[in-house]
Subunit: 308 residues, 2 copies
Amino acid sequence: MSGPVANVSLNELMAEMRAEVDVALEQALASRKAIPTRLADAMRYSLLAPGKRLRPLLALLGAQAVGSDRHQAIHAAVAVEMIHTYSLIHDDLPAMDDDDLRRGRPTCHVQFDEATAILAGDALLALAFEVLAEGLTHLSHSNGYFTPAVVADALRRLAQAAGPEALVGGQALDLLAEKEGGDLEKLQTIHRGKTGAMIRVSLELGGISGGGTSLQLDSLQQYGNSLGLAFQVVDDLLDVESTADAMGKRTGKDSSRGKLTYPGLLGVDASWEKARGLVRQAEQALEGFGNAAWPLVELARYVLSRKN
Amino acid sequence: MSGPVANVSLNELMAEMRAEVDVALEQALASRKAIPTRLADAMRYSLLAPGKRLRPLLALLGAQAVGSDRHQAIHAAVAVEMIHTYSLIHDDLPAMDDDDLRRGRPTCHVQFDEATAILAGDALLALAFEVLAEGLTHLSHSNGYFTPAVVADALRRLAQAAGPEALVGGQALDLLAEKEGGDLEKLQTIHRGKTGAMIRVSLELGGISGGGTSLQLDSLQQYGNSLGLAFQVVDDLLDVESTADAMGKRTGKDSSRGKLTYPGLLGVDASWEKARGLVRQAEQALEGFGNAAWPLVELARYVLSRKN
């Protein structure tokens, strides 16, 4: 585990980046004057709810790891947080997980209404592509790295991670698994889709925004795969172990609804062991980056110590 | 009105293009093996339901109008039909318009379930961007027209048309207008968002896929604006005049729910007059294209004579 000095630095850096991301999220909504008021309110309510901002931070740190200014990835950061927020809004709907509490506040359909929540999710999903496309336009003006193929590929990657073979597919399998049960393989498939794909693409889009080589993008992808899975294992563990107060959402709910979880399938101790192994793999994937990737190394370790 | 010979030609051409589009839609789903079965079934059920395929036809004809092979726009055609279908699935949900019949068949949430319908819509929205990004990648390999800025701009246009300032925003305003009422200006704002933006962007993406000049894209945009509004006025008129049998969905429902409609605000005769004026404007916008745009000219006239 990392020493206290490095931890303080990571925490300070994360706070700084979160503030940057929140400004950019706010700006991405405020600059779109033609959004109907109630819809804009619902989008802002969910998008700017207090959160870890894990995915946007990974995008910024991905750009930094490949040797670029992290601000080059700010559009990618906004885009991935928009897609993450859309998925939370839709997952919380009565027809889906039927959650009334999220990030310590009423969920979008409780605070507004169901129709508005569906539309706010739809809106954030579409807007993510608009924001990323705009960002890539800016980047391509000043940098020959951004060929037509690179621009199209970046947007394609985001669409694939958000789509039916990843994020949406994972949620569909998750809902089915509640009824049908399943094994470790199915659980991993669900998590690769529901959590892994967006975590991985956040890093990839950060790396692309920073002009990374394909070798660097591969390394970020490997890091993302391990980190995403570690994150989900710890999420399952926190659901078992923590209190509703610390998590800001109802806990113990996963197991009471018969959701597949790592502690449910492997037990608590073996799940922690798995998480530690994944974090080691994540660190190894970063070896080629040297010091530019120190925050990603620290972040992987931080996953093991997080409380919510 | 056009003579019978030209009409037959348009009908034949439209049937041919619909068949091409349906093959491409089928292929776009079938090639994605990792979509969970039930989700893939729901996506296919709604995407391949019998329909006019107006938007994909406009994309193909937009490419043809600017002097290109229409097949260059097949990815754009698939993308816009996916987004149109997503919007129908979500609009039909119980929390929204609560429709149980669409294109003569049970709506997606009736045939499957509400969660699956929400996810199928989400999936089609994300997939549209993946398909268009792939298409632009292919086009950019062989043609210098597709600069990074053109590629990003095409995807940005699609996102904007599908997003909270257009398609999603229009639906949000429409739901609100049911409660609050409104005037002709509000109705036009709703329709520009709900119908107009996607019709216009279908033509634009067709024109871009065909390598059109910015002057040509402007003309397609003007044509799309007029056509989209004409289409919606006629849609409202058909809702008043036709039977549920011919439309394949419940009719008269708009007015019984207090929805704003053109015949409701202007009366039936003035609405038909408005539609005819819009179709004339649409034809005028095409004057610079010459014979390459004859199907778009015919299509605008066809809007006035359609029965469903």
